[in-house]
């Protein structure tokens, strides 16, 4: 491991500590939490959020944000539900459609940021709203049917893990290598730290920013496909919570909102923590409505902590 990789990986340590603490405390307190079935549940529930969080992590590292992932996910489930069992597209075609629309959304986001200088937050909220509208036109309420063989394949179990979780783990491994051992990764960190400096050092910043948004869209599309295997139908609103949760997962995992600091490894722990909040609330018999308050507070608090740490250093 080179020095800079070590520095980034260090940012992930607090998230893993929090994760372990939650696990240990919950395992001691709640007998239903300790069951192997519950672990399986956690893994199955986390897998989709973990995949989206990679997308969010990419964009945050470059100093942007992607709120459109939620609608891309919803569109992914709709594409799978409408076309994977009937019509000319077939399974491969609908997979390509889900990912393609994600990439197209990412392209619009990237060009909006680079060419029109629209703040990332605003352009991605716009594409989120637009694509949500398209989803509602295509499928006003949940319905359709996802290819049963595909759904069964994604649910194949290997011990505690299922196929979706394994895909998620592979993606994390791939992106860890991409971000820490390739030119693209180093450029992303450089742009996130200072776009001006990166450009002056000869990095094609605009190209990389657009590429990052397109990549983010593609991964969000994949997450939609993975989610469709879990819920087996299409749903125009099912992705809504993922935009906020993926940002929270990345932030809890140590990614700075200003870009350039953090690592995907932390994001993985962050996504498990965000999903554990639901699980913990269910297992200790608190009203499920408390999850909103808890998640909101976790996000604000972790942002505050990172912000204060940064200021102390500055």
């Amino acid at each position: 491991m080179t020095g800079s990789v070590k520095k980034h990986v260090k940012q992930a340590i607090p998230a893993y500590v929090i994760l372990i603490v939650i696990f240990v405390i919950m395992s001691m307190v709640s007998p239903s939490f300790r069951k192997i079935g519950n672990y399986r549940n956690i893994v199955a529930q986390t897998a989709v959020l973990a995949i989206v969080s990679i997308a969010q992590c990419n964009v945050l590292l470059i100093g942007g944000i992607d709120m459109s992932v939620s609608s891309v996910i919803s569109f992914g489930t709709i594409a799978m539900a409408m076309f994977s069992t009937k019509g000319a597209l077939g399974l491969a075609g609908s997979l390509a459609l889900a990912i393609g629309v994600g990439m197209l959304t990412g392209l619009v986001n990237g060009l909006g940021v680079v060419k029109f200088r629209i703040p990332a937050m605003i352009i991605t909220i716009s594409t989120q709203a637009f694509l949500k509208g398209i989803c509602l036109v295509l499928m006003p309420s949940s319905g359709g049917k996802v290819n049963a063989d595909f759904a069964a394949f994604m649910k194949t179990r290997f011990g505690v893990l299922n196929m979706t979780a394994i895909f998620a783990l592979i993606l994390y491994a791939v992106f860890f290598v991409i971000y820490h051992y390739t030119r693209y990764g180093r450029s992303v960190y450089a742009i996130g730290n200072s776009e001006v400096c990166a450009e002056q050092s000869g990095i094609a910043t605009k190209k990389y920013i657009v590429l990052t948004y397109v990549l983010s869209g593609a991964i969000a599309g994949l997450a939609g496909v993975a989610l469709s295997a879990r819920i087996a139908t299409g749903n125009p609103l099912v992705g809504d919570s993922y935009a906020m949760n993926s940002v929270a997962a990345a932030v809890v995992g140590g990614i700075s909102m200003n870009g350039g600091i953090g690592t995907v490894l932390g994001t993985m722990a962050g996504s498990v923590i965000m999903q554990l909040i639901n699980n913990v609330i269910n297992n200790v018999d608190i009203s499920p409505y408390y999850q909103y308050i808890t998640k909101g507070m976790v996000l604000v608090l972790s942002l505050m902590i990172f912000q204060m740490k940064r200021r102390k250093r500055a």
Binding site: S126, T127, A129, F130, G296, L303, M304, Q307
Partner: protein, 318 residues
């Protein structure tokens, strides 16, 4: 001739009054009449004005926050909260109107203070803080109502959205009066000037001796209070409690502000632009209802309008 038109252009360019948006409003109204092929009377247009009042008031709050370089994504949740709290405290009885109003405004004050304080003190991204706040508010009202909206709005207060004076709806009068007061505050008081300057450059204004932190906080407080008033107008309009009635208002208020020329970078924009912005947003969405895609159309118009208007605003500045 050439210099004359140049002068005129310059005059128009540097005049604060956003003529372009009013031209756009006229164009949108013409399209609306054409699309409905005359089946819609001018009285219907007054009705659209009446329905626009909640958004109109909330959007003014959003504009003020945008002016100080922030953004408030908790507007919708605040409006939903006011609806639920007002309905449950009133329970349809006129005697409870005053306590209900006081409780609602106190809650809005708290939301605004928290938003502003966290953002200004810790220098955190406004959209994340306000979005987290909107999650917390939503969680709060779900816990309060246990997921089932109860209560109804007292008949004594429903006149603020149901009443008419001649052909003018009372809701529109409330909207215009608030607009007038805020417009005077923004353009003709030291506080208003400081608000614009703080939005233009927060550090510079702090170094010039303004209390920029307090000004930012006050903007968020104003925004939440206006969202609260908007929520009351909305509640008076629908008359019952219903979860998530405010959900559309967050993006709609942003769309209205940016149509009116308010910039995301702070310091640029005015309430005079937001007024036609609100009407344009609502008329576009009425058009979508006429086409038959009201729910989906709402999101599609929001998306396109925000992206295009911000792109235009950014281009103008360069």
């Amino acid at each position: 001739m050439n210099t004359n038109s140049g002068k005129l252009r310059q005059k128009l360019k540097f005049n604060k009054f956003p003529f372009g948006v009013y031209l756009l409003l006229v164009a949108v109204i013409v399209v609306f009449f054409a699309a409905t092929q005359g089946t819609i009377s001018p009285a219907h247009l007054m009705n659209i004005v009446r329905q626009s009042a909640p958004l109109g008031v909330a959007a003014m709050g959003q504009t003020i926050v945008l002016l100080v370089g922030g953004i408030d994504l908790s507007v919708g949740a605040t409006m939903s909260m006011v609806n639920l709290v007002a309905a449950s405290v009133m329970g349809g009885s006129d005697a409870q109107i005053l306590p209900a109003l006081l409780i609602c405004m106190a809650l809005c004050l708290l939301v605004g203070l928290l938003n502003g304080y966290i953002i200004a003190t810790f220098k955190m991204q406004p959209f994340l803080v306000t979005m987290a706040m909107s999650m917390i508010i939503e969680g709060g009202y779900y816990i309060y109502t246990k997921g089932i909206a109860k209560g109804s709005i007292a008949t004594g207060i429903r006149f603020i959205s149901e009443g008419w004076i001649g052909i003018v709806p009372i809701a529109a009068i409330i909207w215009l009066v608030i607009w007038l007061v805020l417009s005077v505050v923004l353009h003709h008081t030291p506080y208003g000037h400081r608000l614009y300057i703080t939005g233009g450059n927060q550090d510079a204004s702090r170094l010039s001796g303004f209390k920029s932190k307090e000004i930012v906080i006050s903007a968020y407080v104003l925004c939440s209070l206006l969202a609260g008033i908007g929520g009351l107008l909305l509640s008076a309009y629908i008359g019952t409690a219903s979860t998530g009635v405010g959900a559309d208002y967050t993006l709609n208020s942003i769309a209205s502000s940016v149509i009116g020329g308010t910039s995301f970078l702070g310091g640029i924009g005015s309430l005079e632009g937001t007024f036609p912005g609100v009407l344009i947003t609502n008329i576009l969405q009425s058009l979508m209802t006429i086409i038959g895609i009201s729910e989906a159309g709402k999101f599609i118009t929001q998306g396109i309008v925000i992206a295009v208007m911000v792109a235009i605003n950014q281009r103008k500045r360069r």
